[in-house]
């Protein structure tokens, strides 16, 4: 690595961090909190707590974000702009909750069914968006997004009406019985969902790097004309990739239900913006797969740290969203061209 490269990298890093620090300081001042106290609260909220309770909740959130990020990565690298992860996540979570609450049978079997149902629901919803593009010419970018809304409304109706937990009166399913929860790591309150995500992430990266299917999907993303000319089954490839992406989103929904919340309640997967955070985590690292977990952890820490800031320094937690968006904006100029399928508007400068 030559000195010029290092200097350029440092200058870029400064170009991102200096404006962001200024923005953060401005927002904290606007909320009327002393900056020192706010930063302290942020760090404690993200990494501290009694017996590292907050660090564990950061890890738990990071798992869900990384899962959604890998789901987005799977489709983005294949040139498929599936931004319907939210709908796929919601339907997955709902399916898992319905099975885990209502299906009879031994706990491990029911949990396996719940996960499978969630993955199937997510995969179907993603493939529906793909089918709309292939058969009806609805651009995936728009079709997948529009399908988010009916999915959320449907889930909201299911837990508001037929499967509502009447005892609590809230729009949520009944609590899943104790035996069907994902176990925690011994001695902690962190469920093993994050480990599942870690394994799945490694598997997905291995799929992309080593399998023929993964290579073909990527080539299809980089150059659809080449993929077609090489005789790849491009339509099937696209649908299969979308199914994988949707299934992964569904799995994340199942893990959130079985591990974290133990039920599905209205809005619980939409409000924290897991799907969108996953998408921006992938965009932040320009689809470099091994960096996705780092970006996911970073954004998770940002969110839980901001929640900590809200608790003790009364800075609204949405500061995390603002900073997250600002990071993407500042980095966008550098990462843009590495996203396949991103629209080329034919105008440089």
């Amino acid at each position: 690595m030559t000195a010029a490269v290092v200097v350029r990298a440092l200058r870029r890093a400064a170009g991102v961090t200096v404006p962001l620090a200024l923005l953060a300081w401005l927002l904290i001042a606007l909320a009327g909190a002393p900056p020192g106290e706010a930063i302290d609260a942020f760090l404690r909220g993200a990494f501290g707590g009694r017996r590292h309770a907050y660090l564990l909740s950061t890890l738990s959130r990071a798992g869900l974000i990384v899962g959604m990020a890998m789901a987005a990565w799977l489709s983005f690298r294949a040139g498929l702009f599936n931004i319907g992860g939210e709908g796929q996540l919601v339907l997955g979570g709902l399916a898992a909750a319905v099975v885990a609450v209502h299906a009879p049978g031994p706990a491990p079997l029911v949990m396996a069914w719940a996960v499978l149902a969630a993955m199937a629901a997510g995969a179907c919803w993603a493939m529906l968006a793909g089918a709309l593009e292939l058969a009806a010419g609805v651009p995936l970018l728009i079709g997948s997004l529009l399908l988010n809304y009916p999915a959320s409304f449907f889930a909201s109706w299911v837990v508001g009406h037929p499967l509502r937990d009447l005892a609590s009166g809230l729009p949520q399913t009944d609590l899943i019985v104790n035996e069907r929860w994902l176990p925690n790591f011994p001695g902690t309150r962190l469920d093993i969902g994050v480990a599942v995500i870690a394994i799945v992430t490694i598997a997905v990266i291995a799929y992309g790097a080593t399998t023929t299917h993964g290579l073909r999907a990527r080539l299809n993303g980089l150059s659809p004309a080449f993929a077609r000319a090489s005789g790849f089954p491009v339509r099937r490839l696209a649908l299969q990739t979308l199914a994988g992406s949707g299934a992964l989103a569904g799995l994340v929904g199942a893990l959130a239900v079985l591990g974290l919340h133990h039920r599905y309640s209205d809005g619980m997967l939409v409000q924290p913006l897991y799907a969108w955070t996953g998408i921006v985590a992938v965009l932040l690292v320009a689809l470099v797969p091994w960096a996705v977990p780092l970006a996911g952890f970073f954004f998770a820490a940002l969110a839980t740290g901001a929640a900590g800031m809200e608790r003790t320094a009364e800075v609204p937690r949405e500061i995390a969203l603002i900073l997250q968006a600002a990071i993407i904006l500042f980095v966008a100029g550098y990462t843009a061209r590495s996203v396949p399928g991103a629209r080329d508007d034919g105008d440089a400068h």
Partner: protein, 304 residues
């Protein structure tokens, strides 16, 4: 039921936000900017309208703030996408998130509330009444139900819909705007800055989306709710894509979507669950996309 005055009167309230935002999107589309951040633009506009109206106790200031807020978003888009060359989709995703974060943050930091902000200081936009229209025989009463007592922004939107085709076809800036979209090289050869034109288009788009937001927050109601744009900006994006930014077809599509939206409120009375009717505008939008593409394919096949 469709000619019921209450229903007719509700249609423009749903059409205007989509139409205004879509007109803004059309400016971008024609200038060659792929802007799918309309949702965020509208949300910021809605918040700024309430903030301005609350601060000055004047709806006019609210509208002004809404325009400025939207233009601020447009400026951000221009800086990060047009000038720094960030991918338009990435920048759009970021700006949509920024809009949610910023409006909710400011709602808490400035007004100390979360969820919804209502206050007697928020002054709503008045209405434009057309008292004489009712006297016209036959067509008068339904037209009056449709057009009388609506927000002034309806008339702004209609005027712009009529004006924009002329501007695009005849005016020098309209021609340049289209050139920026269709043949940027030629424009540059002619000594005109493509970047500056696209920035202007984004500013115009921001102002129009701001107006759309003002219609939502200080005309349809008199309050701000978190995430109150609720997908309207995305529907406007679809309208732009469907019509490739041509104003008159755009008007038709906006009316279609707006009617579906108000219809969805209307049929809640029939005992359908609210979530089913809430999903209707999005399903109608998808259906319109499918129909348009099938229709286009037929025509392409017939032409070949």
């Amino acid at each position: 039921m469709l000619l019921d005055p209450a229903f007719l009167g509700s249609v423009p309230r749903f059409v205007v936000p989509v139409l205004l935002a879509a007109l803004g999107g059309a400016l971008c589309e024609r200038a060659g900017v792929f802007n799918i951040a309309l949702e965020g633009f509208v949300l910021v506009g809605a918040f700024a309208a309430v903030a301005g109206s609350w601060w000055a106790q004047s709806a006019g200031v609210g509208v002004l703030f809404a325009c400025l807020g939207g233009m601020g978003m447009g400026l951000l888009f221009a800086e990060f996408s047009v000038r720094r060359g960030g991918d338009a989709i990435v920048v759009s995703v970021a700006l949509n998130l920024l809009a949610i974060g910023l409006t909710t943050f400011l709602l808490r930091a400035l007004f100390g509330v979360s969820g919804a902000f209502r206050d007697p200081r928020i002054t709503g936009l008045g209405t434009v009444d057309l008292p004489l229209l009712d006297a016209v025989p036959l067509v008068g009463p339904p037209l009056a139900a449709l057009l009388s007592g609506q927000s002034p922004l309806l008339w702004v939107a209609l005027a712009l819909t009529l004006l924009l085709p002329f501007a695009l076809a005849r005016h020098r800036y309209g021609l340049r705007l289209r050139a920026a979209g269709e043949a940027p090289q030629a424009l540059r050869t002619g000594g005109v800055s493509v970047r500056r034109l696209r920035t202007a288009a984004l500013l115009g788009c921001g102002a129009l989306c701001g107006l759309a937001g003002a219609q939502l927050s200080i005309s349809n109601v008199n309050l701000f709710v978190e995430n109150m744009s609720a997908g309207r900006g995305w529907i406007a994006v679809v309208a732009v894509l469907l019509t490739r930014g041509r104003p008159l077809p755009l008007f038709g599509v906006a009316v279609l979507f707006g009617t579906a939206d108000s219809l969805s409120v209307r049929i809640q009375g029939l005992g359908l669950p609210q979530q089913a009717t809430d999903a209707l505008p999005y399903l109608a939008t998808l259906a319109a996309l499918i129909v348009a593409s099938v229709w286009r394919r037929r025509h392409a096949a017939a032409g070949a």
